[in-house]
């Protein structure tokens, strides 16, 4: 398991390869469907993503003693953000996209150009990822989008995932789809 911490400088990110298991620590920010649409429509993104991480996640958070407690924070399916992500990567300087299921070839190309990776989090592991959030540093766009779609700022410790798309143009999803398709063709004769 390779440990990486914020800030996620280009040099560190480009040293990682598809298939590497990683443990992420430091600040990450959530953004999903409405966040991406807002960005595409010219909205002002409330945080600086330079050398930062974006997490496709709609967490369940409850208020507790003036702050927030994260109950569940697993990844959501990333493909829905395909139309927006290349432009977001180009303009924000983000280094890590975390989600599940992977993204398209246009996003992979943008990652390669700008030095960014896609980390696959484990679908369904909401309790574990919630436990990796050490502190909720704040939340933006709450009034506009509601709690599940807001931009949450999480300080995480040992957030586990696998580099599934690297900054060199390799995608494990594409590899596995191709190899399983060849094996299926062989099995069906």
């Amino acid at each position: 398991m390779i440990e990486i911490g914020y800030p996620f400088y280009r040099r560190k990110i480009c040293a990682l390869k598809a298939g590497d298991a990683v443990s992420i620590s430091g600040m990450i920010h959530t953004g999903r469907d409405r966040f991406h649409k807002f960005f595409a429509d010219g909205g002002k993104i409330p945080v600086d993503f330079r050398d930062g991480a974006l997490y496709h996640c709609g967490p369940v958070c409850v208020r507790e003693g003036g702050g927030w407690r994260v109950v569940s924070a697993g990844p959501t399916t990333s493909v829905r953000e395909n139309p927006y992500e290349p432009a977001f990567i180009e303009s924000s300087g983000v280094r890590i996209i975390i989600g599940k299921g992977g993204m398209d070839s246009a996003t992979l190309a943008a990652m390669r150009r700008r030095g960014c990776i896609y980390v696959q989090a484990v679908g369904g592991a909401g309790a574990l990822y919630a436990a990796s959030v050490r502190r909720v540093a704040g939340v933006d766009l709450m009034d506009e989008f509601g709690a599940a779609e807001a931009c949450w700022h999480f300080e995480v410790e040992v957030f586990r995932g696998v580099v599934a798309m690297d900054a060199h143009g390799r995608s494990l999803f594409a590899d596995v789809a191709a190899s399983s398709s060849a094996r299926l063709a062989a099995a069906l004769g």
């Binding site: 369904g124 592991a125 586990r160 399983s180 094996r183």
Partner: protein
Amino acid sequence: MKSEILHERISDLIASTSSSLPADVERALRRSLRAEEKGSSAAVVLRTILDNVALARKGRVPLCQDTGTLAFYIDAALRRRVTPSVIKKAVALATERGLLRRNCIDSVTGRSYDDNCADGAPVIHYVDWQEPGRVTLVLKGGGSENMSRQYSLPDASIGAGRDLEGVRRCVLDAVQKTQGFGCAPGILGVCIGGDRATGYEVAKEQLLRPLDEKSGGAKDAQLRRLERSLLKEANSLGVGPMGLGGKTTLLGVKIAARPRVPASFFVTVAYMCWACRRGSLTV
């Protein structure tokens, strides 16, 4: 038993089902972890899943944030005691206690039913095949439900004719098409035959069967053999946990058959994610 106590007990069943993975599924995940190469993506994903399972059980919190569609399978003899209104009261209580996400949307207006109760939700089946006094609950998430499919044979695109070889082709095609999107490693419930509606119904019912059945699997010997060989073949495709490659793509395959009319031959595949949440109680 008074209905007061009954709805409390069913609410507890919802809590334990949402937070605690069945022992047979957890054992299968552990076996899979041992089979994968140390340090591989597959091993990392399986380790993460198992840690999540332990944490959710200990903290009695939902093990996946998508608490899914609730489907109850109730012994028909309990129809007058375990009524839909008792079930709904239990679901509303479990939602209030934070064991279920607000997960029920009106398909026409888009509004949320905040207590997870509506006409048709939760799904309640009174069945004659349950053990006496038995109430079984299954929580199935949307990500896995989206991956279920139905084939109509013959299907020239995969060379599937109307025989068990055709069934084999459908199942393997379904596994390859699904990749990791249903949160692999998954469990397949398969129905051969029936009409379209009963195909999906019976395929989903197969997901109630434990992975390590004492009987060794399906009643029919041919189907039992097919369950075993398809599990092996599906895992040889190399899709792996969350689709990142590896030896574990499925944890189990459960097959049943229903009669068909001469004109139709459906093969229905219900995909269940690794978070196969099922639980029972006896009233």
